[in-house]
């Protein structure tokens, strides 16, 4: 009886904890998916080496155009701006991860090209002033 108690309790507790963790993860994913979808007007921000180069309101773009970003070590990226989305179409970096990431139209994950130190992020147009504000210090 006592032995049974000892072996059974952790199993139920483990299941409960697993369920709790799964629930939290699911809620977070749902939240990310929701913020990704509900954004109407987006502003793209292009950073090179941490400095903001351009801020492009994507809803005002009518015809696609390209921008060239020269990098510090001779690396170069060509960005294409389309109505509602932005992406890197060509790069001379070795792995071309930024090109493979394709076009982004959601403010969830930014495009980053590490060899060129280029970051393109999207943020909702209305509160872009609040959300692009960099923290004074990052401590943890």
């Amino acid at each position: 009886m006592y032995k049974q108690n000892i072996t059974k309790t952790p199993k139920a507790a483990a299941l409960a904890i697993c369920a709790f963790l799964a629930l939290v993860t699911a809620a977070c994913l749902l939240c990310l998916w929701h913020t990704g979808r509900s954004s109407g007007q987006l502003t793209a921000e292009v950073y090179l080496d941490g400095e903001l180069l351009w801020r492009i309101p994507l809803d005002q773009v009518e015809t696609p155009y390209t921008l060239e970003v020269p990098g510090p070590q001779g690396c170069c990226n060509r960005i294409e701006v389309r109505p509602g989305s932005i992406g890197v179409v060509w790069a001379d970096c070795p792995d071309k991860l930024c090109v493979k990431q394709g076009f982004i139209d959601r403010p969830v994950l930014p495009i980053a090209c590490l060899p060129n130190r280029l970051v393109i992020r999207l943020c909702p147009a209305k509160d872009s002033s609040a959300s692009h504000a960099a923290p004074d210090a990052v401590t943890y």
């Binding site: 963790l21 939290v24 977070c28 990310l32 609040a130």
Partner: protein, 166 residues
């Protein structure tokens, strides 16, 4: 407290501090502020598994104070304390209902609580609701990194010789 145990716990605090220092020398894994592996939590998990919560809490407090003194800015002590307290409470609680088994899950709870506690502190300190945008990233990240440290603690528990008895 017995001298042997005091020495052992001091050694654990040093190990934890060394893990913390080694981790802060690594490049960040993801460009999300607050995202980290939390390697020094391995020591806390191991002590929780082998000794009483009091001993683990002591080592954790020493590690947090020393790391804030050695590496930190003034505010980092607050964030460290909030994360440490939250994760310690979560790991104690889940450890007692799991009867110290399954360190993977205990670690996951600890990581989750650590990131949650830290983000709530950041919310209170900066008074900007915008930091909550990191919550959906940081909570699953805490679960994943917590599982990793839990795995490390489990392996450490298997291979490290036993210290002085509690």
């Amino acid at each position: 407290m017995e001298t042997k145990k005091l020495t052992f716990l001091a050694l654990c605090a040093t190990l934890s501090l060394a893990l913390y220092a080694a981790e802060s020398a690594l490049p960040p894994l993801a460009p999300i502020p607050g995202f980290k592996l939390g390697l020094s939590n391995i020591v806390t998990l191991l002590l929780l598994r082998r000794y009483r919560p009091r001993d683990a809490a002591l080592v954790l407090a020493v590690r947090i104070l020393l790391s804030a003194l050695l590496f930190g800015q003034p505010l980092s002590l607050l964030y460290s304390l909030a994360g440490g307290l939250a994760s310690f409470a979560a790991m104690c609680l889940s450890g007692s209902i799991l009867q110290k088994k399954l360190p993977l899950l205990i670690g996951a709870m600890g990581g989750l609580a650590h990131n949650g506690g830290q983000l709530l502190t950041a919310l209170a300190v900066t008074a900007t609701p915008g930091v909550l945008a990191y919550l959906p990233f940081l909570l699953p990240a805490g679960i994943l990194t917590g599982m990793f440290t839990g795995l490390c603690a489990w392996l450490a528990d298997r291979y490290l010789p036993r210290g002085p008895s509690s």
